[in-house]
């Protein structure tokens, strides 16, 4: 028996799709073979003609074709003024089709931050929201009580974009009926229990408070450059991007793109701090302890780090 998959895009950039194409060992096509996934529809990859696509939608909604996994990419656009007309399919709000498919689906996966929490456009005329969260709040488009036919809520895979391994791993778990443990925002713990900071090659700089104050200095980006690595959860430095690196490793601050309130209003490349101490401290750390620890750590910093000879 194959597992059917339907991918739909709302208010998004397509980045989660293109990110998914970077899946490796197995790659996208191998993964679908191994899991016997039959892709009913993907807006960027399918070659169904428009009539057959309409027929497919009708047959799913009339229970003639089972829908095992519904992947939603991009926010649910409800504007302007609640009409949903800022995102339509054949003149009708796309959100209506997304809602109807969600009622038929065994599992629903929100791929990326926009589908999970609303992301770009949450405070604008597009009235964007996430599938079952609006920023930090449970609810979103489908409402607090929604459960797919499997009994799961919408499974959120945030990230801008979502990492290909996270989606591939989630699909594998679902297709094999393996248990999937979710965190407080309904994201699988396997990838969303560790901080982005973990595994960053600049960790030693953080440890001894060797700060980067100017681009290219090769220090820790947390204190001045706006890095949110110690503040947000995500596997960027554990599984790496495109099998090679991560933003923080090459010197781009983590912008906290897995956060339910991404994108934030405050400047991305600047840490909000008071006298050099960031206002937002690493998750769960007390200010007094952190200040004492960082003061001592900076004093203990070895010369090889201060001179930036580590080659990161």
């Amino acid at each position: 028996m194959s597992t059917t998959l339907y991918w739909i895009q709302g208010g998004g950039c397509g980045g989660d799709t293109w990110s998914f194409l970077s899946a490796e060992s197995p790659d996208l096509t191998e993964l679908f073979d191994i899991l016997s996934i039959e892709m009913l529809w993907h807006p960027s990859l399918s070659a169904l003609d428009p009539q057959s696509k309409e027929q497919l939608d009708r047959r799913i909604l009339e229970d003639e074709i089972p829908l095992d996994i519904l992947c939603v990419e991009g926010s649910i656009i409800q504007g302007p003024s609640g009409t949903g007309l800022a995102d339509t399919l054949l003149g009708r709000p796309k959100k209506d089709l997304i809602g109807a498919l969600a009622e038929k689906a065994f599992h629903v996966i929100a791929v990326g931050t926009c589908a999970s929490f609303g992301g770009f456009g949450t405070d604008q005329e597009t009235e964007a929201t996430g599938m079952q969260f609006h920023k930090h709040d449970l609810g979103g488009f489908l409402g607090k009580k929604y459960k797919s036919k499997s009994g799961f809520p919408v499974i959120n895979l945030p990230g801008c974009p979502c990492h290909s391994d996270v989606l591939a791993g989630t699909l594998s778990a679902l297709a094999n009926d393996l248990p999937l443990e979710l965190n407080e925002t309904n994201s699988p713990l396997d990838w969303y229990r560790i901080m982005v900071h973990q595994g960053c090659t600049r960790n030693e700089y953080h440890e001894y408070r060797v700060e980067e104050k100017q681009f290219g200095e090769k220090g820790c980006l947390f204190f001045y450059m706006g890095c949110q690595g110690p503040l947000v959860k995500g596997p960027c430095n554990k599984i790496l991007w495109n099998r090679r690196s991560s933003k923080t490793r090459v010197g781009v601050p983590c912008f906290g793109c897995t956060r339910p309130d991404f994108p934030p209003r405050h400047p991305f490349f600047k840490t909000r701090n008071i006298e050099g101490i960031p206002i937002e401290l690493p998750a769960g750390v007390s200010r007094a302890h952190y200040m004492a620890y960082k003061g001592m750590a900076a004093a203990a910093a070895p010369k090889r780090l201060i001179k930036r000879k580590s080659g990161i």
């Binding site: 970077s22 807006p43 990859l45 007309l85 790496l240 991007w241």
Partner: protein
């Protein structure tokens, strides 16, 4: 019997969804409008934000050309900061954009464009079965290696810039990364592998052999020279297109625009084919080449749902004031009509190669005018020009004592533009800063040029023009419409619109 029919066709595989409204009059398209069906409102997100925030937000306009958006954004800020960008930073910026372009050109061709060759409309085509074998989504013999090889080439962006898609490693004055020798070696290996695949599978010959193809006779000679050429993806594409007569499809305005691609580092061993660029800027108007001057760009709102300020304005002067659709009955689009010196212009790989005076492309253009076949051919052969340049620049990166970043003054006030050639053509960001904040941000995307509505003279935009006059052989499967639009590599997530009632109202958001 005279028959007239109005159809609305959703068109997927256009990087975001798009609907084409067209009238068929006795088997021929007599009128056409394109309507993107989604609006995300990125411009509003940028106003009032910190100047550098555009480097994080604008790449997220588009998941397939995010590095292009980043480069346009950073060039606008470079100009405001008066930054001198070190040579190695120019190389890293170019190399990452080129890697993204290789990815785009191959994915567009084999994941987005050629799947139409598997349409039932081609059942009688003598190469139909082979087309299905090659181009079936997720399974085709051209599709699987395209997915594998393109994801490897973008590893170059991850090595030099952290991740793909959506990194922000370019900053005013350079790039944040400091690649070491081993990083560059890794990039060179990835490039060598990709080149090997491109030569073996896509061209069926070496880059050197392909570069000898300069005339129509050369092309036929090349095609019939050996089976490897006929069986390669390029050879098969040519053979299929000839039988399907794609050169007779999608004729548009004979105007092309390029902002110029890949500026040269000051010190490089690469010979610049033209003043400072790998592909020169220019405006090609009905057979005549003109130097490019960004002052001549205007936006016309006659048929758009925006308040008119009288004459069309330059993007720096342009403000966006929405007019409700019924206030102006002529308007049918939320898209503005970009014009150069008053003319609509096609942009993309074909425009780049025409303006670069590529002999083969020029001869094909002289013979048939702009059409579906040469648009896609230009996209498929563009990597042949990028690969040797990338090789040269990778070898030069990190060799001297230069840094990858030069510190600049704080960004407070001023205005600047970043004009580049993105994968789909001319991309411009026009940025105004006031008191350390973004006051205005205007983006004109390549698709805005190609999908432009009419202007005040009633002149259609490039792909509207390309659709009108198209003969539809089988109304059940109007592949001619699909080919024409997809040959422009539309990016509707960059250039998105909205439908109200049954009237297409289109808004270019970015």
């Amino acid at each position: 019997m005279h028959s007239k029919k109005i159809q609305v066709m959703p068109l997927n595989r256009s990087e975001g969804d798009l609907e084409i409204h067209f009238e068929i009059d006795d088997g021929m398209v007599s009128e056409a409008r394109s309507a993107g069906t989604m609006y995300r409102g990125f411009e509003n997100l940028l106003k009032g934000r910190s100047p550098l925030d555009g480097l994080v937000i604008t790449p997220r306009i588009c998941g397939i050309c995010c590095t292009a958006q980043l480069k346009a954004a950073v060039k606008a800020l470079d100009m405001i900061a008066g930054a001198r960008v070190p040579d190695d930073a120019i190389r890293v910026r170019n190399l990452t954009l080129m890697a993204e372009q290789l990815q785009n050109d191959l994915r567009h061709t084999f994941l987005l464009f050629t799947p139409d060759f598997t349409s039932p409309a081609y059942r009688e085509h003598s190469l139909f079965e082979e087309a299905v074998k090659r181009y079936r989504p997720l399974k085709g013999e051209a599709v699987i290696p395209t997915i594998r090889e393109t994801k490897k080439i973008i590893e170059i962006i991850a090595i030099l810039g952290g991740q793909w898609p959506h990194s922000s490693f370019m900053v005013p004055g350079g790039v944040v990364s400091v690649p070491g020798q081993n990083d560059i070696i890794q990039c060179r290996s990835l490039l060598a592998n990709f080149r090997h695949w491109y030569e073996r599978r896509i061209l069926g010959c070496t880059l050197a052999r392909w570069s000898d193809v300069k005339t129509l006779e050369d092309l036929d000679l090349w095609l019939h020279e050996k089976p490897a050429h006929q069986e390669s993806e390029l050879g098969f594409f040519i053979r299929f297109s000839r039988e399907a007569q794609l050169h007779q499809l999608g004729n548009g305005h004979p105007n092309f625009i390029s902002f110029g691609a890949y500026e040269m580092p000051v010190n490089t061993g690469l010979k610049a084919p033209s003043a400072g660029f790998l592909f020169p800027p220019g405006f090609f108007n009905n057979g005549a080449m003109n130097p490019f001057d960004q002052e001549k760009i205007t936006e016309d709102v006659t048929f758009s749902h925006f308040k008119s300020h009288g004459d069309p304005r330059h993007p720096f002067e342009e403000t966006t004031v929405i007019e409700t659709p019924h206030d102006n009955t002529e308007a049918y689009s939320w898209g503005k009509a970009p014009r150069y010196d008053g003319y609509p212009a096609e942009t993309g790989p074909l425009a780049e190669l025409v303006i670069a005076s590529n002999p083969l492309i020029k001869r094909l253009l002289d013979k048939d005018g702009p059409n579906v076949f040469i648009r896609q051919l230009a996209r498929l052969i563009r990597p042949a020009f990028l690969l040797p340049a990338m090789d040269c620049w990778l070898k030069e990166t990190g060799v001297g004592n230069e840094t990858f970043y030069q510190k600049n003054e704080q960004l407070e006030n001023g205005r600047g533009f970043g004009l580049i050639q993105a994968h789909r053509g001319a991309l411009g960001h026009w940025v105004t800063l006031e008191d350390g904040k973004i006051a205005e941000y205007q983006v004109i995307t390549p698709t805005a040029w190609n999908a432009s509505p009419r202007d005040r003279e009633g002149i259609r935009g490039p792909w509207e023009e390309a659709l009108v006059g198209t003969i539809i052989k089988n109304p059940e499967h109007p592949v001619e419409i699909q080919h024409t639009i997809r040959s422009f590599d539309p990016c509707m997530v960059c250039c998105v619109h909205t439908i109200e009632g049954n009237r297409p109202i289109a808004k270019i958001l970015c």
